[in-house]
Subunit: 328 residues, 3 copies
Amino acid sequence: MAASSNLPSLKTAGSRHFQDNGFMVSKLRHVIESQQFTLPLLMDLFHRSRGMERVVARGGTLEYQDKILANLFYQPSTRTRFCFEAAMYRLGGKVLSTEQASAFSSEVAGEQVEDSIRIIAHYSDVIVVRHPQAGGAQRAAQVSSVPVINAGDGEGGQHPTQALLDLYTIYRERPLVGLSVAIIGELDRGRTARSLAYLLAKFDRVKIFFVAPPELQMKPDILTYLDEHGVRYELESDVDRVIGEADVIYQTRIRPERLRDEQGRKRYAIDPALLRKMKSDALIMHPLPRTVELDKAVDEDPRALYFRQAANGLYVRMALLTMLLDTE
Amino acid sequence: MAASSNLPSLKTAGSRHFQDNGFMVSKLRHVIESQQFTLPLLMDLFHRSRGMERVVARGGTLEYQDKILANLFYQPSTRTRFCFEAAMYRLGGKVLSTEQASAFSSEVAGEQVEDSIRIIAHYSDVIVVRHPQAGGAQRAAQVSSVPVINAGDGEGGQHPTQALLDLYTIYRERPLVGLSVAIIGELDRGRTARSLAYLLAKFDRVKIFFVAPPELQMKPDILTYLDEHGVRYELESDVDRVIGEADVIYQTRIRPERLRDEQGRKRYAIDPALLRKMKSDALIMHPLPRTVELDKAVDEDPRALYFRQAANGLYVRMALLTMLLDTE
Amino acid sequence: MAASSNLPSLKTAGSRHFQDNGFMVSKLRHVIESQQFTLPLLMDLFHRSRGMERVVARGGTLEYQDKILANLFYQPSTRTRFCFEAAMYRLGGKVLSTEQASAFSSEVAGEQVEDSIRIIAHYSDVIVVRHPQAGGAQRAAQVSSVPVINAGDGEGGQHPTQALLDLYTIYRERPLVGLSVAIIGELDRGRTARSLAYLLAKFDRVKIFFVAPPELQMKPDILTYLDEHGVRYELESDVDRVIGEADVIYQTRIRPERLRDEQGRKRYAIDPALLRKMKSDALIMHPLPRTVELDKAVDEDPRALYFRQAANGLYVRMALLTMLLDTE
């Protein structure tokens, strides 16, 4: 339940500065929160990601063949795990993998992520952590002698690499300045929605519509952050009222246990009827997996971008890995 | 429960034709059902498999080092999974692996194999699927941009690569034409038995004895197929009546939940007494794992071929992977 | 429950002898029990392990890139598994991995490790087994055509590679002859404690303090072995009485289910108060994971060696793998 705003800032803890071509840019040490990405870092990342599209098309590289990535997933997520592993493979590297690390930690009451990380850092060159508690990735980074990547930490935590690939997907299609984005779903506990909001706040004249039932709306820590950074946003409970204004429709899941009424959940769903109300060049995105909130009929719509979004995850994570593994 | 006969034919869906040395042969796109293997494809596969025996003896190859195989197993099967992964490694490639993918799909009600495949196809060059429902592999293939291999899809579905390695094992020992084969076990739901029957039907003058308790006998879809292809077969419930006639004894499991009476299950077991009734040059096969239906005392018999059968799985799967990964 | 003393001796079963530079040394075939390591073998192992520290610092080697290691873990242990896998990767090799193999064997009642090993030996060059029963690794070795490494077999079994890395950690810091070692914890079922005791017995003038509640003390099979080899030991239930005498304090877990009284468990814990009673140059070790028996406050003490111990696991396992994979 610890809000990420209680964490020490990663702008200092998670990066160090060095001179590069006359510019002061940040060298990434860990990837914990999306706030830590400055605009120069984002542009470096997106530039590298474009390059990775070409690298993959040529069959990958062997440049990182002496590097090992360790996936420490305390909660299973086959797609996110496969994406990081494929990214490491396309770079030539090796992978240590857990599908469900909590199986072994249940054996040992009091088992702490810190001890596991201290050990696994001796066996690998970069560690990807999915942890059930907000702040879990930060705890890991604080004791790790190798870079740590947050692959999701708890409800109400973050999932920064998802937000980075989301933003890259938009960047590939549209100027980021002046963008209007509707983020729909169970926003109070949505890691991807939270991480994306932090990133969008970096760009001028962005407007965000947070669309959710009032009891699942975005939490004050994010809204305060947006206020402080002068970002315009609206809280909305009716999809229809904003859907025609948004350049990007970012849909996320509403789990049945959070909104028991299925009709209620469907009121937030993207279906053929809602498609007709969207801008003709809107971008429809979803972090997947989906349930009822994204009708399969949408798949055929040329505005549907969510499978390309998943594909972009590979390039962005490859780029991130090179930024973490490259030592000057 | 959907019988595979309801599926669209893979003779067209699963392959495309091209000219090769003046012969019209099929290029494999997916491996879903054993019926899709024509005789020329089988001969190509077996020729390549022989070559792979030599490749492995020399320590493998690095030829496919830029390729990634993804194993998407919704049901665990360590041996089949290891066999595919070792095949990919001996070819020089990389592996994405799930031991039990259903752990994550339970998290998301309504999770569909199609969405997972669409995403994983961006992270890999070939996908191996084990799915709990008959037709699951075909559903995967229909949306995949990379080749899909069926590693078992449901009770009453198929397990074509098992049948291919079974047939290769026989081919290494004996002419396939005119063969007499006894297939024993829980045949109504036996994927390996079903897939093997389809393959045997391709060879002239084959005779199949289906040996099972009447309530577990082979289902009509297979028998109709054999009738249509002029293959001789007999349905038999007494092992003793056919065991002396068979060139190949293909034993499979009878699970206790299907035949509660242990004495009944043992009536179909291969034990030293039954060994004495077999032909002196019979081939004793089993897809493994085994329970009571195959006595450990049989392991020492020179006719026991089941561990070599498991070893052949490596060569046949290597050969299959090259057929799927090679682009003209 | 089967005591390992009932197993056939591995001095003959697990190794064969050959001439090397005029010396008769043992060629390792399997690693099952720590007793099988002669002094020359230990010295060879430690010499290779030192070399591996340099190999890793240089980014590893590709020398074993055609080799496959299979991890067959019937019980999960992320750290031990990752350590073996990282060792294989740093040597250039490939890895087949199970996080929890018992999931699939539960499917098949009567499933035997022997059948699995016979098959997996066709798919790999070395097999690492963690088995829930003492003697499980030995059973695996007896049928395997490739080397088998015991990564822990049951309560009351052994965990020889843990003991080897423990001893290597001491060897890097201190002469092994004349050493005084306190081994603390749930000793009757502690695999690591048992395996370490066997190894310490090889060195002259060693003295071992076994410190445990009387009902969890070391079992007679080990004590008899020490008596036969002239090794001095004391059974002690009070940590305070021996802590000031020991050169090495080897702490292990006491699980709540073995000693329900938490105050009782804490009586065996290493905490700041106990630190003050230790020798100023004592070595504090623990196989990890830890619970209450090793206070986190100890981590900052310069005598705390347990994370370096975990790091050494990589070098020792790399060295072991080369000893098993190198054919003359």
